[in-house]
């Protein structure tokens, strides 16, 4: 029975095969995004001693579907004097990079859509494109709040991208490869081999920059409700708003996945021993991903919003120097001292 399916699969044209693979990544991803929003409301509710949404479906499990249906049937309002085409393109520009980056994410040793050589650079390039959706949305809305939000968010994303990029430079120095799969393979052999221990400062910088990069609390000044209503997406409604929402959460999951791959050993079990190796790698991968994704929600439930000038200070004057120093430390240790093994 199984051979029949395998044969059918191999007889399909390549375009269809790739199409099916993309669908196999995208649909679970979108479902994950939907239930991530639900998890967020539940987790933050629990931390605030509330119970969160629990009315739609058993224990509220159908809430994201209800939200999606509601947003789909709402009217998309285009403000007067808005740039019509750009206004409608912006949400797509925000979502597309967040989804496209999943093409190179290795779920396990063999389960990766495109095992390209410079996948780390590819991810970096795509995440840097996400800012266009925000800027264009803010500009095309023809609204001062949206514009201010876009300016804030763009400045923040550009600033933290540099720190993120440098943190990843540290990882690629340790792993000696730009390929995400090889980076994970370099971390094999138990949790003490994972890069979050030797590269701890970079791990912290990457995680915090990831929160800032996705405009999440406590770095959510781009949509600071109390100051500029909702930031760059004030003028959006219905499905166009939903796409922005999807993009934000897809980006969060992407950053979580990248953190897992770079610093937490990807699909590798925490100990290279019998009971841990029985569990398939993909379970470890998604387990760690869920853990990091939970951190995002935990941060939001805990920290008050940062002031804008302090965000900029943290990005430029703290994180970038920290990453630069640690890159220097790694380089010096690897090539001039016998302690290079600590970083590989």
């Amino acid at each position: 029975m199984l051979e029949v399916f395998v044969e059918i699969w191999h007889s399909l044209p390549l375009v269809l095969q790739v199409g099916f693979k993309i669908a196999a990544i995208l649909f679970p991803l979108l479902a994950m995004v939907a239930y991530y929003t639900f998890a967020e409301r539940k987790v933050i509710g629990y931390m605030q001693l509330r119970v969160g949404p629990n009315r739609v479906g058993p224990r509220g499990w159908l809430q994201p579907i209800a939200d999606a249906v509601k947003l789909m049937f709402k009217e998309i309002i285009i403000p007067t004097n808005a740039e019509r085409q750009l206004f409608l393109i912006a949400p797509v520009l925000a979502l597309a990079p967040a989804l496209a980056a999943w093409a190179v994410i290795p779920f396990t040793d063999t389960l990766v859509l495109a095992d390209i050589d410079a996948s780390l650079l590819f991810v970096l390039a795509l995440t840097s494109l996400g800012v266009y959706g925000v800027i264009i949305a803010g500009w095309a809305s023809n609204s001062k709040y949206a514009f201010l939000g876009a300016m804030r968010s763009a400045a923040q994303i550009v600033a933290y991208e540099i720190a993120m990029g440098f943190a990843l430079v540290g990882v690629l120095m340790a792993a000696g490869s730009l390929n995400l799969r090889e980076i994970v393979l370099a971390q094999a052999g138990g949790f003490f081999q994972w890069y979050f221990i030797p590269l701890f400062p970079l791990f912290v910088v990457y995680l915090v920059s990831g929160v800032a990069e996705t405009n999440r609390a406590p770095f959510d000044v781009a949509e600071g409700e109390s100051e500029i209503v909702a930031g760059f997406h004030v003028e959006y409604s219905g499905m166009a708003f939903a796409v922005f929402f999807l993009a934000e959460y897809a980006n969060m999951i992407l950053i979580s996945a990248l953190t897992v791959i770079m610093f937490l050993g990807g699909w590798q079990p925490p100990l290279d021993m019998a009971p841990f190796t029985w569990v398939p790698g993909i379970v470890w991968f998604f387990g760690k991903l869920a853990l990091v994704a939970f951190l995002f929600l935990w941060f939001r439930a805990t920290f008050p919003r940062y002031r804008y000038d302090q965000i900029m200070r943290l990005g430029w004057k703290v994180f970038i120097p920290v990453t630069l120093v640690w890159i220097g430390v790694i380089g010096a240790a690897k090539f001039f001292t016998p302690f290079g093994f600590l970083f590989s």
Partner: protein
């Protein structure tokens, strides 16, 4: 026409159309966005040449950072197109002459034979394990290490020069010393006063 040729022509057409739109479109923000599209198509063409490192870096640096700053500036500007066009006919002859000279120069270089198909052989296709990035790094840090380091130094000097030229301290600006703010403890700011919740007789008489 195989897939590679098709994609080359597709990206080239997009690139040329977008490039001509950059100079013709009226809205400066849209012009910048078309320029982004130009860079992106150029990156795609480089990808078909197996220059994936250069292509991705083009997207990362130019599209992801430089053009964002461009957009920043252009969005803030309130450009009056009518006033910009005032001297159009007056400067047209000079502009045409300069454009003509540039085209002629390019033509001389291109037709000299140095860039013909014979002079530059078709790049050989490499295997899957060939790393463009590694090769580029090896060349940069061995054969061209001095040129590379000097270029880096010049860029650094340029950055510092630009900052020091534009940076000026104005009097009367208020600055926060964040380190001091962080060093503050509860004892510095808060004084707890003990008092009874009800007014006692002794206090009433005062």
């Amino acid at each position: 026409m195989n897939f590679l040729q098709f994609s080359f022509y597709l990206f080239s057409v997009i690139l040329i159309v977008a490039a001509s739109l950059v100079v013709t479109v009226r809205n400066p923000v849209k012009a910048v966005l078309y320029l982004v599209l130009v860079f992106f198509s150029a990156a795609c063409i480089w990808l078909t040449l197996e220059a994936e490192f250069l292509a991705i870096v083009l997207v990362l640096v130019y599209v992801g950072a430089v053009m964002v700053l461009f957009l920043f500036v252009v969005m803030m500007l309130d450009i009056d197109v009518a006033r910009l066009r005032e001297g159009f006919t007056q400067y047209l002859p000079a502009g045409l002459v300069i454009a003509g000279v540039m085209v002629a120069e390019l033509a001389v270089v291109m037709l000299s034979g140095r860039f013909s198909l014979d002079a530059i052989p078709r790049p050989v296709g490499r295997g899957a394990d060939y790393s463009n990035t590694r090769e580029l790094g090896l060349v940069l840090y061995t054969d061209y290490v001095y040129a590379f380091e000097i270029a880096a130094l010049i860029l650094l000097v340029a950055i510092i020069a630009a900052i020091s030229l534009t940076f000026r301290r104005r009097g009367g600006t208020k600055v926060q010393v964040i380190a001091e703010q962080l060093r503050v403890t509860k004892a510095d700011r808060l004084r707890i006063v003990k008092m009874s919740s009800e007014i006692t007789d002794g206090e009433k008489s005062q």
